[in-house]
Point group: C2
Chain length 122, copies 2
Protein backbone atom coordinates (compact mmCIF):
# COMPACT_ATOMS: atom_id res chain seq x y z
CA UNK A 1 0.00 0.00 0.00
CA UNK A 2 2.77 2.42 0.93
CA UNK A 3 5.33 0.87 -1.35
CA UNK A 4 8.33 3.12 -1.89
CA UNK A 5 11.48 3.06 -4.00
CA UNK A 6 14.59 3.07 -1.85
CA UNK A 7 16.81 3.62 -4.90
CA UNK A 8 14.93 6.70 -6.09
CA UNK A 9 16.50 10.14 -5.93
CA UNK A 10 13.28 11.35 -4.34
CA UNK A 11 13.59 11.35 -0.53
CA UNK A 12 11.67 8.58 1.24
CA UNK A 13 9.68 10.99 3.37
CA UNK A 14 8.57 12.82 0.24
CA UNK A 15 7.53 9.58 -1.44
CA UNK A 16 5.47 8.73 1.63
CA UNK A 17 3.87 12.16 1.55
CA UNK A 18 2.90 11.88 -2.11
CA UNK A 19 1.74 8.30 -1.73
CA UNK A 20 -0.57 9.32 1.08
CA UNK A 21 -2.00 12.16 -0.98
CA UNK A 22 -2.57 9.73 -3.83
CA UNK A 23 -4.42 7.28 -1.63
CA UNK A 24 -6.58 10.06 -0.27
CA UNK A 25 -7.35 11.36 -3.75
CA UNK A 26 -8.35 7.87 -4.83
CA UNK A 27 -10.67 7.57 -1.88
CA UNK A 28 -8.76 4.62 -0.43
CA UNK A 29 -7.86 6.59 2.67
CA UNK A 30 -11.03 8.23 3.96
CA UNK A 31 -11.63 10.77 6.68
CA UNK A 32 -10.90 9.39 10.15
CA UNK A 33 -9.03 6.41 8.77
CA UNK A 34 -6.13 5.62 11.03
CA UNK A 35 -2.68 5.69 9.49
CA UNK A 36 -0.19 2.94 10.35
CA UNK A 37 1.86 3.84 13.39
CA UNK A 38 5.22 5.47 12.82
CA UNK A 39 7.06 2.43 14.13
CA UNK A 40 5.03 -0.23 12.36
CA UNK A 41 5.19 1.50 8.98
CA UNK A 42 8.92 2.05 9.42
CA UNK A 43 9.39 -1.62 10.17
CA UNK A 44 7.24 -2.65 7.23
CA UNK A 45 9.16 -0.44 4.81
CA UNK A 46 12.54 -1.15 6.33
CA UNK A 47 13.29 2.48 7.05
CA UNK A 48 13.95 4.51 10.14
CA UNK A 49 10.99 5.61 12.30
CA UNK A 50 12.29 9.16 12.14
CA UNK A 51 11.84 9.12 8.38
CA UNK A 52 8.20 8.10 8.65
CA UNK A 53 7.68 10.64 11.44
CA UNK A 54 9.02 13.37 9.19
CA UNK A 55 6.52 12.46 6.48
CA UNK A 56 3.67 12.42 9.00
CA UNK A 57 4.70 15.80 10.39
CA UNK A 58 4.64 17.34 6.93
CA UNK A 59 1.28 15.74 6.22
CA UNK A 60 -0.06 17.17 9.45
CA UNK A 61 1.46 20.56 8.71
CA UNK A 62 -0.49 20.60 5.45
CA UNK A 63 -3.71 19.50 7.10
CA UNK A 64 -3.89 16.13 5.40
CA UNK A 65 -3.66 14.11 8.58
CA UNK A 66 -3.81 14.95 12.26
CA UNK A 67 -1.78 13.24 14.94
CA UNK A 68 -2.57 12.68 18.60
CA UNK A 69 0.16 11.62 20.98
CA UNK A 70 -0.78 8.28 22.49
CA UNK A 71 -3.49 7.54 19.95
CA UNK A 72 -2.12 7.74 16.46
CA UNK A 73 -2.46 9.60 13.16
CA UNK A 74 -5.70 9.96 11.24
CA UNK A 75 -6.88 11.28 7.91
CA UNK A 76 -8.30 14.79 8.19
CA UNK A 77 -11.47 16.15 6.69
CA UNK A 78 -10.28 16.54 3.13
CA UNK A 79 -10.79 19.38 0.72
CA UNK A 80 -10.28 17.48 -2.50
CA UNK A 81 -10.06 20.61 -4.62
CA UNK A 82 -7.24 21.84 -2.44
CA UNK A 83 -5.40 18.54 -2.79
CA UNK A 84 -5.85 18.74 -6.53
CA UNK A 85 -4.14 22.10 -6.51
CA UNK A 86 -1.25 20.47 -4.71
CA UNK A 87 -1.07 17.79 -7.37
CA UNK A 88 -0.91 20.52 -9.98
CA UNK A 89 2.17 22.20 -8.51
CA UNK A 90 4.77 19.90 -10.01
CA UNK A 91 2.73 19.62 -13.16
CA UNK A 92 2.69 23.36 -13.73
CA UNK A 93 6.46 23.54 -13.42
CA UNK A 94 6.91 20.80 -15.97
CA UNK A 95 4.54 22.55 -18.37
CA UNK A 96 6.41 25.82 -18.08
CA UNK A 97 9.74 24.10 -18.65
CA UNK A 98 8.36 22.46 -21.77
CA UNK A 99 6.95 25.74 -23.07
CA UNK A 100 10.33 27.37 -22.46
CA UNK A 101 11.85 24.68 -24.63
CA UNK A 102 9.54 25.79 -27.44
CA UNK A 103 7.11 22.90 -27.18
CA UNK A 104 3.59 23.98 -28.11
CA UNK A 105 0.42 23.68 -26.06
CA UNK A 106 -1.09 21.38 -28.66
CA UNK A 107 1.91 19.08 -28.57
CA UNK A 108 1.60 18.80 -24.81
CA UNK A 109 -2.11 18.00 -24.97
CA UNK A 110 -1.52 15.31 -27.54
CA UNK A 111 1.21 13.91 -25.38
CA UNK A 112 -1.12 13.73 -22.39
CA UNK A 113 -3.81 11.98 -24.36
CA UNK A 114 -1.34 9.34 -25.47
CA UNK A 115 -0.11 8.78 -21.95
CA UNK A 116 -3.66 8.70 -20.66
CA UNK A 117 -4.67 5.96 -23.03
CA UNK A 118 -2.13 3.51 -21.77
CA UNK A 119 -2.59 4.45 -18.15
CA UNK A 120 -4.28 2.22 -15.61
CA UNK A 121 -4.75 3.75 -12.19
CA UNK A 122 -4.80 0.97 -9.67
Amino acid sequence: MFNIDLTSRVPIYEQLYKKTVELVMKGILKEQTQMPSVRSLAKELGVNPNTVAKAYQQLEHDGIIYSVAGRGSFISKINHQELKEYAFEDFDKAVIDALKASVTVDELCDRIKNIGEGFRND
Copy 2:
Protein backbone atom coordinates in the same frame (compact mmCIF):
# COMPACT_ATOMS: atom_id res chain seq x y z
CA MET B 1 21.72 34.62 -21.31
CA PHE B 2 22.79 31.83 -19.01
CA ASN B 3 21.16 33.29 -15.96
CA ILE B 4 20.86 30.76 -13.13
CA ASP B 5 19.32 30.67 -9.68
CA LEU B 6 21.93 30.06 -7.01
CA THR B 7 19.24 29.56 -4.37
CA SER B 8 17.40 26.88 -6.31
CA ARG B 9 17.36 23.26 -5.17
CA VAL B 10 18.27 22.30 -8.73
CA PRO B 11 22.05 21.86 -9.08
CA ILE B 12 23.81 24.64 -10.98
CA TYR B 13 25.26 22.29 -13.57
CA GLU B 14 21.78 20.93 -14.25
CA GLN B 15 20.38 24.43 -14.65
CA LEU B 16 23.13 25.18 -17.12
CA TYR B 17 22.37 22.02 -19.01
CA LYS B 18 18.66 22.78 -19.29
CA LYS B 19 19.28 26.40 -20.14
CA THR B 20 21.55 25.39 -22.99
CA VAL B 21 18.94 22.98 -24.33
CA GLU B 22 16.35 25.74 -24.15
CA LEU B 23 18.52 28.14 -26.10
CA VAL B 24 19.17 25.52 -28.74
CA MET B 25 15.48 24.69 -29.03
CA LYS B 26 14.68 28.37 -29.46
CA GLY B 27 17.25 28.64 -32.22
CA ILE B 28 19.32 31.15 -30.30
CA LEU B 29 22.25 28.79 -30.15
CA LYS B 30 22.80 27.43 -33.63
CA GLU B 31 25.04 24.69 -34.95
CA GLN B 32 28.72 25.58 -34.69
CA THR B 33 28.05 28.47 -32.32
CA GLN B 34 30.84 28.67 -29.80
CA MET B 35 29.86 28.34 -26.16
CA PRO B 36 31.49 30.65 -23.60
CA SER B 37 34.68 29.16 -22.22
CA VAL B 38 34.48 27.24 -18.99
CA ARG B 39 36.43 29.89 -17.13
CA SER B 40 34.68 32.93 -18.55
CA LEU B 41 31.19 31.59 -17.95
CA ALA B 42 32.16 30.55 -14.44
CA LYS B 43 33.42 34.03 -13.75
CA GLU B 44 30.32 35.61 -15.23
CA LEU B 45 28.00 33.46 -13.12
CA GLY B 46 30.13 33.63 -10.01
CA VAL B 47 30.53 29.86 -9.75
CA ASN B 48 33.43 27.45 -9.86
CA PRO B 49 34.90 26.51 -13.26
CA ASN B 50 34.51 22.85 -12.30
CA THR B 51 30.75 23.33 -12.08
CA VAL B 52 30.57 24.74 -15.60
CA ALA B 53 32.88 22.01 -16.84
CA LYS B 54 30.55 19.40 -15.40
CA ALA B 55 27.60 20.86 -17.29
CA TYR B 56 29.62 20.95 -20.52
CA GLN B 57 30.70 17.36 -20.07
CA GLN B 58 27.12 16.21 -19.71
CA LEU B 59 26.08 18.28 -22.71
CA GLU B 60 28.86 16.69 -24.72
CA HIS B 61 27.96 13.23 -23.46
CA ASP B 62 24.44 13.78 -24.78
CA GLY B 63 25.69 15.08 -28.12
CA ILE B 64 24.38 18.60 -27.67
CA ILE B 65 27.78 20.25 -27.81
CA TYR B 66 31.24 19.05 -28.68
CA SER B 67 34.41 20.21 -27.00
CA VAL B 68 37.91 20.51 -28.39
CA ALA B 69 40.83 20.95 -26.03
CA GLY B 70 42.59 24.17 -26.82
CA ARG B 71 39.78 25.54 -28.97
CA GLY B 72 36.54 25.54 -27.06
CA SER B 73 33.04 24.08 -26.99
CA PHE B 74 30.57 24.31 -29.86
CA ILE B 75 26.95 23.48 -30.55
CA SER B 76 26.58 20.16 -32.35
CA LYS B 77 24.45 19.34 -35.35
CA ILE B 78 21.11 19.21 -33.63
CA ASN B 79 18.32 16.71 -34.02
CA HIS B 80 15.48 18.87 -32.77
CA GLN B 81 13.05 15.98 -32.49
CA GLU B 82 15.50 14.20 -30.24
CA LEU B 83 15.85 17.26 -28.05
CA LYS B 84 12.10 17.53 -27.85
CA GLU B 85 11.97 14.02 -26.52
CA TYR B 86 14.38 15.07 -23.85
CA ALA B 87 12.14 17.99 -22.96
CA PHE B 88 9.26 15.56 -22.62
CA GLU B 89 10.97 13.37 -20.03
CA ASP B 90 10.20 15.47 -16.98
CA PHE B 91 6.84 16.36 -18.43
CA ASP B 92 5.79 12.72 -18.77
CA LYS B 93 6.67 12.03 -15.16
CA ALA B 94 4.59 14.95 -14.00
CA VAL B 95 1.64 13.79 -16.08
CA ILE B 96 1.81 10.29 -14.65
CA ASP B 97 2.00 11.62 -11.11
CA ALA B 98 -1.07 13.75 -11.75
CA LEU B 99 -2.98 10.82 -13.24
CA LYS B 100 -2.05 8.73 -10.22
CA ALA B 101 -3.59 11.43 -8.06
CA SER B 102 -6.85 10.92 -9.96
CA VAL B 103 -6.61 14.06 -12.07
CA THR B 104 -8.22 13.52 -15.47
CA VAL B 105 -6.68 14.00 -18.91
CA ASP B 106 -9.17 16.74 -19.69
CA GLU B 107 -8.32 18.62 -16.53
CA LEU B 108 -4.65 18.52 -17.45
CA CYS B 109 -5.27 19.81 -20.97
CA ASP B 110 -7.39 22.66 -19.66
CA ARG B 111 -4.68 23.46 -17.20
CA ILE B 112 -2.08 23.62 -19.97
CA LYS B 113 -4.20 25.89 -22.09
CA ASN B 114 -4.59 28.32 -19.20
CA ILE B 115 -0.87 28.32 -18.54
CA GLY B 116 -0.13 28.72 -22.23
CA GLU B 117 -2.28 31.81 -22.53
CA GLY B 118 -0.31 33.75 -19.97
CA PHE B 119 3.03 32.51 -21.18
CA ARG B 120 5.55 34.66 -22.99
CA ASN B 121 8.63 32.85 -24.21
CA ASP B 122 11.46 35.32 -24.39
